[in-house]
Amino acid sequence: MNLGSALGNMMAQAANTASWWKPMQASSHAVAVDTLFNFIMYLCFFFFVLIVGAMVYFIVKYRRKGSGPERTSPIKGNHTLEIVWSVIPGILLVLIFAWGFKDWLAIAVVPANAMEVRVSGQKWNWTFTYPKDGIVSPDLVVPAGQTVKLVMTSTDVLHSFYIPDYRIKRDVIPGKYTVLWFKPEEEATHQIFCTEYCGAEHSNMLSKVKVMSSAKYEEWIANGGEEAGGAGVPLAEKGKKLWEQRGCVACHSIDGSKKVGPTWKGAFGTARQFADGSSLPAADENYMRESILVPNAKVVAGYPGVMPSYQGQLNDKQIEALIEFMKSLK
């Protein structure tokens, strides 16, 4: 084994784990961004040591010793020095700009053979739609080795889609599409954050990228967006998972505590009093279904009518699972 491939192996290894100060490098963007990051950092170290070193040296050397007046240098400036310290940083800055621009173009231009996934951001969860297969998923599931293009939009306010392990980020804007791409290399799970402030549960607007082998991915597609082994799981348990993944958890507690929306604990089958004065003696399946798909039709008294509609984002099976989960919360 020659030195080059040994070094290559080492770098590949280092890339697979997060260090104490950097996320893991899970894409070609990540390697490029980190290389430039490190270059700028070494430059900064150099200039920092130069400036603060000179400062400390001068303080020690020229500190006033006696009490009487000391003579000081009549120096007022030095053209040569001033030109040097303008031009050299100037050249370095242009270099950093050009390097950053080059890498950034690679992030901005999407390769031709990409698989497309639609991303929808809404307060406070992400929805991934696979247009070819008609699958809707709360996680971004992708096959390893496949270039993925994300076409993103928001249904309400600004969000920003950020995967630290890939070093990519783009704002998600209502009424407009923005695009991101990446090529996952290895089977792994990566964190997704929302990084554009979007309100009360901004910090809970999280999701995951799940990179699978092609075979597992095909299986996932064939199962209609559910991982293998889902057949024997009780409906209520599936509902609980959806409650966590689809952002219900941000506003609806299951322990009776009051959040943005009413708690689900004991909600099913009990009386509901609505903001418009009407009421319902016992919340049933139809009411729950309506509250998921047309949330503002009946708003419970004392709560703001801010819930977004899940029309088109949950299929019938998923809604049934959620209602089953609500029923189980006595």
Binding site: I173, H202, K240
Partner: protein, 562 residues
């Protein structure tokens, strides 16, 4: 005030010129004499009290934010749990922290308080050009602050200090009141700017040519230009936002046919130059403190003066670097990135020049000088980390993470606020007639410096790891860094509390200050401490530059052409 002035007999000044003439503080008595004063020194002092009061308020919000971030207790089905504030409350706290610190503290800090007090003194003038306008701008400031803080009682604001649409046009919190407050504050800023520009142009003492101006005046001049040119854009933007919210005209909200990214362009067209409104006066302060305490000519006077103006001009053309991930065009982003690097050059020139000024000097390390050195250290880090964010590809990773939070705190807090506190130490004897305690000054500087670095350097690491900003809670892997940062913020708070204590002590029984405790050559040191009501006993005439100290050894061959 005008009538008071007329009541003073014409010969009074000459008769009491021996030192018995009352100073500006006790020339008139009673609260009414303060509330109706047009004396720039009294107004500067009143601004100072206002700014320090709001600084305490903003600081308390900051400590509450940091306390929340000590950490959620991780448990339960969802893996995390709130522990102090709900998401909504936390969002209001960081919004108020940002809005108060930016609009009520940092923007008016040096220009409105120290600028008002010292600009006419440095120019050898009796007052600013429009004293009554000056009084008005103070009341506009108080009114704007009242509106901003009033919003707390009507549900507070949860938009962040940036008021990004369409969140700000749809949230149920009291955005209009807060926006109106900022709108009004803008007028205070504009009026002060106009006043300073005219004063600097028209009211310089005989012999005070442009190249004899203290660099503090140059910095104020550049700042005032930006205030006058940029602030109206913010006013219009916020007005449009208020119109959208109140009568539903679609400007920024896509549901009404607007463009949310347009708001960002408008907002940053003001708010990026506003960054220079915040930092340029600090540059002026540092030029003064380092030069006077080095007992030398400043290195490269013209380069420093002109770089302020260059920063002010180029600073107008870099707003898009706040929007690299916003979906603006690739070409626009590339141009903004390039110009951002261009503005780094004059900033680097200034930093090098300050360090070079100390070469061959006779350094007096008083507490003001300690703060100035702390500024150099912190601002260097703040400036250098800006390179990461100006770089297109690297910014994609770091944008809207704690790296950005750390960067602007190093510049705004480590830069501007450190310089502001240093300036208070430097000019305190002139303003109050009392000396500050040097020992405790250095102790406080130590705590501020150490606490600041612990609080904010840890945030560079957080940001690099990918921790997004404006999060009320977070994943467990970020917790230990947040806890380090919070401990640092408490030390920082302690440092400022110590400062407050010895400032009060100085007012009560501090040592009496001589007219010129630091041996300065600019005109503010040629009058009494504190100055008399009309500033000077006689019209000063300037025959030398601001930094021609007697220690300078002219027997050595003079070098440098400035």
């Amino acid at each position: 005030m005008e009538s008071n002035r007329k009541n003073v007999p014409q010969g009074a000044h000459a008769a009491t010129a021996g030192g018995a003439e009352p100073n500006y503080i006790n020339a008139h008595k009673g609260i009414w004499s303060w509330m109706t004063t047009v004396d720039h020194k009294r107004l500067g002092l009143m601004y100072l009290v206002g700014v320090l009061g709001f600084f305490a308020v903003g600081g308390i919000f900051a400590l509450l934010v940091r306390t929340q971030l000590l950490g959620p207790i991780f448990k339960g089905a969802s893996g995390k749990q709130e522990w102090l504030f709900s998401g909504e409350t936390y969002n209001k706290l960081f919004t108020l922290h940002g809005a108060v610190m930016v609009f009520l503290v940092i923007i008016p800090s040096i220009p409105a308080s120290l600028g008002n007090f010292f600009l006419p003194l440095m120019l050898g003038a009796k007052d600013v050009a429009f004293p009554k306008l000056n009084l008005m701008s103070f009341y506009v400031y108080i009114l704007g602050g009242a509106f901003l803080l009033f919003s707390i009682f009507t549900g507070a604001v949860d938009t962040g200090w940036t008021f990004y649409t369409p969140y700000s046009s749809t949230t149920s919190t009291s955005v209009v009141s807060a926006v109106l407050g900022v709108f009004i504050l803008g007028f205070s800023s504009i009026l002060t700017g106009v006043n300073f520009i005219v004063t600097i142009h028209k009211m310089r003492a005989p012999g005070l040519t442009w190249v004899r101006l203290p660099l503090f005046v140059w910095a104020q001049y550049a700042t005032s230009l930006i205030q006058v040119l940029a602030t109206p854009v913010l006013a219009i933007t916020l007005m449009l936002l208020a119109i959208e919210r109140t009568i539903g005209v679609g400007i920024f909200d896509p549901k009404l046919g607007g463009d949310p990214v347009l708001f960002q362009h408008f907002f940053w067209f003001y708010s990026h130059p506003a960054v220079y409104i915040m930092i340029l006066p600090a540059f002026g302060v540092i030029s003064e403190i380092i030069t006077i305490n080095s007992r030398k000519q400043i290195f490269g006077y013209k380069a420093i003066a002109m770089s302020s103006v260059a920063i002010a001009v180029i600073g107008f053309l870099v707003w898009g670097h706040h929007m690299f991930t916003s979906g603006q065009s690739e070409l626009a982003a590339a141009v903004f990135s390039f110009l951002t690097f261009a503005v780094a050059v004059p900033t680097a020139i200034k930093t090098f020049s300050w360090v070079a000024t100390m070469y061959g000097g006779s350094l007096r390390m008083n507490s003001a000088m300690w703060y100035a050195q702390a500024f150099l250290f912190l601002f260097t880090i703040g400036g250098l980390t800006g390179l990461f964010l100006g770089t297109l590809s690297v910014d994609i990773h770091l944008h809207d993470t704690y790296f950005v939070v750390a960067h602007f705190h190093y510049v705004m807090m480590g830069g501007t606020m450190t310089a502001f506190v240093g300036a208070l130490h430097h000019w305190w004897p002139k303003m109050t007639g009392r000396m500050l305690n040097e020992f405790w000054g250095k102790v406080s500087c130590f705590f501020v410096f150490a606490g600041f670095n612990i609080a904010f350097f840890s945030q560079f690491v957080l940001g690099t790891k990918g921790m997004p900003r404006r999060y009320a809670n977070y994943l467990p892997e970020f917790q230990y860094l947040h806890q380090i940062s919070t401990i640092g913020s408490y030390l920082l708070g302690l440092g400022f509390f110590i400062t407050l204590c010895y400032m009060i002590q100085s007012l009560i029984n501090g040592e009496k200050a001589p007219p010129n405790p630091w041996g300065g050559r600019s005109l503010e040191w040629e009058t009494d401490s504190p100055p008399i009501e009309h500033n000077f006993h006689h019209q000063p005439v300037v025959t030398h530059g601001p930094y021609e100290f007697p220690e300078i050894d002219h027997s050595q061959a003079p070098r440098g052409g400035h």
